[in-house]
Symmetry: C2
Amino acid sequence: MSLLDSALLTDLYQLTMLHGYFTHGMRETAVFELFVRKLPANRNFLMAVGLEQALTFLEQLRFSEEDLEWVEKSGKFPRGFAAHLASLRFTGEVHAVPEGTIFLPNEPILRVTAPMPEAQLVESRLMNLVHFETLIASKAARGVLAASGKLLVDFGLRRAHGAEAGLLGARASYIAGYAGTATVSAAQRMGIPIFGTMAHSFVQAHDDESAAFQRFAEAYPRDTVLLLDTYDTEIAAHKAVALASRFKERGNGIHISGVRLDSGDLAALARNVRRILDEGGLGQTTIFASGNLDEYAMRELTAAGAPIDGFGVGSSLVTSSDAPVLDAVYKLQEYAGKPRRKRSTGKATWPGRKQVFRNLRDGRFDHDIVTVEGDAQTGSPLLVQVMRNGRRLHAPESLQTMRERAAAQLASLPERLKTLEAATTPYRVEISPALHKLAAQVDRMTGEIPALCQ
Amino acid sequence: MSLLDSALLTDLYQLTMLHGYFTHGMRETAVFELFVRKLPANRNFLMAVGLEQALTFLEQLRFSEEDLEWVEKSGKFPRGFAAHLASLRFTGEVHAVPEGTIFLPNEPILRVTAPMPEAQLVESRLMNLVHFETLIASKAARGVLAASGKLLVDFGLRRAHGAEAGLLGARASYIAGYAGTATVSAAQRMGIPIFGTMAHSFVQAHDDESAAFQRFAEAYPRDTVLLLDTYDTEIAAHKAVALASRFKERGNGIHISGVRLDSGDLAALARNVRRILDEGGLGQTTIFASGNLDEYAMRELTAAGAPIDGFGVGSSLVTSSDAPVLDAVYKLQEYAGKPRRKRSTGKATWPGRKQVFRNLRDGRFDHDIVTVEGDAQTGSPLLVQVMRNGRRLHAPESLQTMRERAAAQLASLPERLKTLEAATTPYRVEISPALHKLAAQVDRMTGEIPALCQ
C-alpha cells in the first residue's frame, strides 16, 4: 500500500460532508481556490511549488478495496456509504500557476472546479502537498538570494518531518535554485542531483584522522570531500595537504576535490583553511560549509567575503524553521453557479473564480491585479488550465524548466523585495473593481446576516 | 514501491562511507547513540516517541532489485558496490527508552550496536523518524498540560509537512495524551480514534445556513457537530437551538451533540453560545474550539474559565511551530571496542555506551544520572534492550500502553516543569564520575590533537 495515493489520507469531516452531499444529491459544480491569506514575518513573496504532486494525486484518486472495507467495518459511516465512494474519481478541472511562480497573499495558485463531493474530498491532501512544497521553495529562494551564486545543497532529510518531507523538500529547494540534495531517494525517484561528503563517524572510526582521510580518498577517488572539524579544523587541513602530496608522489591520480567545515567560526576557519590549502598547492580544492546554517548566516558569510564555495543547509531549510507554516487555505468560491464567500471574523474571502494579472515595469514585477475570471486587466494572467475531465492537459514539466522559471522569476523581483527582511514598501496587489463589486453582491444575497449582527 | 521502507532513503555520504568501510573491511561493531544536545526555548523536557517505526525500519531494511539497479546505473558508485548492498541486512542490537518516556538533553534515547556499515547506513532514516515523532509528542504534551482535562484533537494533516508527518504526527500526539485525530488514514492504519465536525464549505454550499445544519444533522444523526462561524457565530447558535426544537417536535431522535467555534474572540463567543444553548435546552451540547490554537491560547482560554469542552489543534501541533526542530543527533560512541568522542567546537559528545538512571523524590522525578553502561547508580535505568540479531525482542506495545506511560510520566513531573515557560530551576541531569573519567581517557588517547592546536 503506497502512502501517497490513499484516498483516506483526508480529514474525517470531508467524508462526513460527502455523506451529506450524497444524501442530498449535492453534486453541482463547486469551485475551490487554494491561496495564502498573509505572508509570514520576514517574507516579501512566496514561490508556488507542488502542482505536479497535486495533479498526480487527483489523477490517481480512488478508494482501494482495502479502504472500502475499512469504511464499511469502521462503524463510523452509514451503511451504503462505501458504495458511493467505490465509484468516486476526480473528473474535474484544475487551473494553476506554473511551478516556480512567485505569488502573493490573496492570489489563488490553484483552482479546482468539480462536482462538490470530489472537490471537497481532495482538500486535505491537496493542501498537504501544495502547502509544504510552497513553504520550502519560498524558504529556499531566500537562501538562493542571500548566498548569491554559491552552490547550495539540501542536507535536511534527518530532521525533515518524515520521509515525504525529506523527498519533497529536496524537490522544492531544487526548483527554487538549490544545486541538489544529499538525499539518495530524491535522485532515484526524481533525478535530482545528489551531493555528499563524509561524516564525523568515519573519522572517529579510525584511530588516526590522516588514515581516515586516506582511506576515504582511496575509496572515492573521483570526488573526495574531506570533513575537517572532527577534532581540529586547521590541523585537519594540514593533513589534507600532506595527503595530497603523498598521492602526488605516488602518481595515483587521486586529488582532494573539496573540504567541509561543520562547526566553529566558519568565516575565520574558511580563511585559514583557504590559506593552508593554497600554500599546500591545493588552490583548486573547494571549501564547503555546513552546521546549523540558514539564509542569514549565509548572507553574513558571503558579505564577509569568507572564501566558501558552497553551503549545506539542513534543518532550517527543510522545516522552514523560522516560519514552518503558511496561512494557506482552500476555500469554496462558487457552488452551483453562485459565487460564495466566507465572512468569519478575520478570515473573510473574496468570492468567485479569479484570475491574477502581473504587471511589469522596466522588466521587473511591479504590481498584480486580482480580478474575477473573464474581466480583462493589464498584465499577464498567471493561472492556466492544467487539467480537464480529471486528466492533465500537458506532460509533466521537467524540473529543469521549473528551475529556469524560478530563476527568471527571482531575477524579475524588484531589488527591495530580495532582502531577508520585510520590505518597507511591500509588493502591490490590487483587488479589481469587478471583484469588489462581486463581493458586495454576494454580501447582499446573504445580507440578512450582517444586518442581524448589529 | 512503498515510501517507507526504501533503503535509499538515506544521505549520499552514508553510501560513500559504506563503500569505504567495505573496501577496508571495517565491519567491527559500532555503537551509535541518538540523543538531543539541548532543549529548544520554552521546553523543560522532551518525550521520546517513534521507536516502533524505527524498529520496523530496521527489521525490514534491504535494498530492493530496483534500488540495486539504480545504484549500478547511477554512475555515482564504484563497480561492485551494489553487490555488497544486496546482502545487507540489519543484524544488530537496539537499546531504547520506551515510547512515552520523558527525557532530557545528553540522555541517549536509542542506541544501535551493529557492524559499522549497518549502523552507519540507518542514521538518516532513524533520525528522520525518531526526531519527528519526539518533536511532536513533546509539543503535544505541552498542550495536554495547558488544557488540563479537555478533549484535544489533532487537526493538522493539511499543514503537516507531507503525508507521513500527518500520520506520525497523529500517532505522536495521541501517545502524548491527545484524544485522537481528524486524519482518517491514522484510524485505518493505526487504530487512532478519529473526530470530525463540518467545514465552512458545507454551509456555504447551501443558500441557507439553517438548511445546511439540518441536512448535516439528518445525514449524520449520531454525532452531529455544527460549525457556527461561517457568517455569524451567535446567530448560528440560535439556528442550532431552533433546529433541535424542530427535531424534538418531529421526534426523529436527532440531537445536536456539539458545536464548533473557529474564529473571533473564542472566550466571549463560548460564553454567549453556552448561554444560548443552555437557554435553548441544549445543556448537553458541547462546545469545541479551533482556529490557530496553540498551548498558550488553550491555557489562556482554560484559565479564563471559557466554557469550552475541547480543542482542535492543527498547524502549531503538527509542525511544532515555535520549535520545529530538535537538536537531535546520532553519534558514534564506540568502534571496535574503543570508546570514541567527537570534539568539534560546541558539539563535543560524551563517549561510550551509556545508561540513564532516573531518581524520584516524593513520587516525582527529581534528577537523572547519565553514566557508562555497567556502572551502578541510584535510580531506575531508562534504556532497555528491544532488539537482538536484527529482530525485536517483544511484540509491539499497544498505543494504549504508551498513552498510559506518557500520562504517568507527565503526572510524575515536578510542578515547576509543567509550565509552558522554561523553569528557573531546570531538571537536573548529572554526568557520573565514571563518564567524566572515560571522556578524559578518550581525550588522552587522541591527545596529540589538542596539544597541537595551542
